[in-house]
């Protein structure tokens, strides 16, 4: 691609306009910097001294105290544990429900398919405040007690659509002939899935799981409707805003961020490696967009 670019430029015609040569990189740099500022604020304020154990907006001096007393606030720790539990359980359920549905939607025509497509699209475009509000109205109507159970139900209702979309997109970009070949060779659809389709879509299943995990652990809006007395990490933090944020919030945020960066970087490296492998193995079938 870079070769194309240079060819285009040395070709004489279509010289870059001055703004793409100079102004654009500067603009990109400024915007990138702007997107990093809140991340820096989070990391830096995790090292701020806080005599009353609540952060002030002004800088008080450097300390690593909050890293040593990371789990001192029992409520905050248990809210974080709840968040992780909800994210793991709801993502597992969403994947179990979503993968078979995506297989059917990507490969078969069947009765009710259009309605299902429509439901998924509406689900993905519905404002989360409406999803949360309608679920609360529904839980009240059927008098289902609100708590961790209803939070999980609500999170699955959102992430199952996300899982289906991701897996379906992956299946659509994949050649169906591989599965057909397996079945022609006498494999049952079940075996064909476990031996052929499953391994091929496993990266997509992993990203679907990670995305639904991230959506769940991050969610404030929907959870704030259906939580009852249960507090997740975002709800606890929002509640603490009025009295002042303990520094541990930013420290935990920083640690979650670091873990996220490591996982994302590892995935990137692994994916580009397996992509290269796939490309080498199936040289004629190029354009593997992931």
């Amino acid at each position: 691609m870079s070769a194309d670019d240079s060819k285009m430029d040395s070709g004489g015609h279509a010289r870059r306009w001055p703004w793409t040569r100079f102004l654009l990189p500067v603009y990109v740099f400024v915007i990138m910097l702007y997107t990093m500022v809140p991340i820096a604020v989070m990391i830096i304020y995790g090292f701020n001294q806080a005599p009353n154990r609540r952060l002030t907006f002004a800088w008080q001096g450097f300390t690593t105290e909050w890293y040593q007393h990371l789990f001192d606030i029992a409520d905050l720790t248990s809210a974080l544990v709840t968040s992780i539990e909800v994210a793991v359980i709801s993502s597992i359920i969403a994947v179990i429900l979503g993968v078979p549905a995506a297989l059917a939607l990507a490969r078969r025509r069947f009765f009710g398919r259009r309605i299902m497509d429509l439901t998924i699209i509406t689900n993905l475009t519905a404002p989360t405040v409406v999803v949360g509000a309608s679920l609360l109205g529904f839980f009240v109507t059927i008098s289902l007690a609100r708590g961790i159970g209803t939070i999980i139900i609500a999170h699955v209702a959102v992430s199952v659509a996300v899982v289906i979309i991701i897996i379906q997109a992956r299946l659509a970009s994949m050649d169906e002939s591989l599965e057909e070949a397996a079945q022609d060779l006498g494999a049952s659809p079940w075996i064909a899935f476990w031996k052929v389709t499953g391994p091929l879509i496993s990266p997509a299943i992993f990203s679907a799981f990670m995305l639904s995990f991230a959506l769940s652990i991050d969610d404030y809006i929907i959870t704030s409707f259906v939580n009852g007395q249960t507090l997740t990490f975002p709800l606890w933090v929002a509640g603490a805003v009025k009295v002042g944020i303990p520094p541990q919030v930013f420290v935990l945020g920083t640690l979650i961020f670091v873990v996220g960066v490591v996982i994302a970087a590892a995935t990137l490296v692994l994916q580009s490696r397996s992509n290269r492998k796939l490309k080498a193995e199936m040289a004629p079938a190029d354009d593997w967009h992931v």
Binding site: F57, A58, R113, V129, G137, D218, V241, V249, G253, G260
Partner: protein, 287 residues
């Protein structure tokens, strides 16, 4: 017959669990708030259906200000997100070279910070004695009692920042998918840089812009955390009203009516926008 029957039933079985979940915990609740909005009563005595359609005009006129504000703030922050992210996505897609993946990774870093903390940090940045204002006050650029928190600016800043990655991703995917030979063809036909952008790159990236505007627009119009944390009494959005009426006041009929109005207004916007902008611009730009 056995094989045929199996072929028909298998997809139904495969989709049944997901369908059940989507209907039971998305579609039916959505329909049920229509019912809930037409009831009267309270949490102690229960709610009975009274076909109280009057709640809709009442709700809209009572909260027209908050509705208007939500669409205004949402619109501004969506436009800002596009202005900020399009050039960056463009640069990464066409000038990123072999470091493309790394630049994209850096651009999407805010995704890895918890949603609530992303908004919270803006409170620290914009506070009266926070990083920005205290520095500006020290050098005398703004007056000592200047403040930003609780103003529309603060809420829009939070909304915009929060949704940036959702704009960056679809726009980048669209730009990156443009085939180099199409751009080269334009150059071969002696298109200037601007013409190349206007007639080839912009129309081909229109689907990404469209998706980004939808994602960011819907999520920022319905958001209430930014207004809750960075705003004040004069910046209340419709999401805040729905949340308070539902969770604190337990006025389920009113809150249900407000949610349905919001949902329908956004759906109307999606459909109109799809008709008017989605297909039209694509054709116009291409033709």
């Amino acid at each position: 017959m056995g094989r045929n029957f199996k072929k028909k039933v298998t997809p139904l079985l495969l989709t049944a669990p997901a369908n059940f979940w989507l209907w039971a915990f998305f579609t039916i609740p959505l329909i049920s708030i229509l019912w809930l909005s037409l009831t009267t009563g309270n949490t102690l005595d229960g709610f009975t259906l009274t076909w109280n359609f009057g709640i809709y005009p009442d709700a809209v006129s009572q909260y027209s200000e908050q509705f208007g504000r939500s669409f205004l703030y949402g619109g501004i922050s969506t436009a800002l997100a596009l202005i900020f992210m399009y050039p960056v996505a463009y640069w990464i897609a066409f000038r990123g070279g072999k470091y493309k993946a790394i630049f994209l990774f850096l651009l999407l870093l805010p995704f890895l910070v918890s949603f609530i903390i992303r908004i919270l940090t803006w409170q620290f940045i914009l506070a009266d004695n926070g990083i920005v204002l205290s520095a500006l006050k020290d050098i005398g650029l703004v007056s000592q009692n200047a403040h930003v928190l609780s103003t529309p600016f603060a809420v829009i800043a939070g909304l915009t920042y929060d949704n940036l990655p959702w704009m960056a991703l679809p726009v980048y995917v669209a730009l990156d998918g443009i085939k180099r030979d199409q751009i080269e063809a334009a150059s071969d036909l002696y298109a200037s840089g601007y013409q190349r952008f206007r007639t080839v790159i912009l129309p081909l990236s229109a689907p990404g812009i469209y998706a980004g505007i939808l994602l960011v627009g819907i999520s920022s119009v319905g958001d209430f955390l930014s207004a809750q944390i960075l705003g004040g009494p004069s910046t209340t959005m419709i999401g805040n009203i729905i949340q308070t009426q539902y969770v604190q006041n337990q006025n389920y009929p009113l809150a249900s009516a407000l949610s349905l109005v919001l949902m329908v207004a956004l759906l109307a916007f999606v459909v109109l926008y799809g008709r008017f902008f989605g297909s039209k611009t694509l054709k116009e730009f291409a033709g």
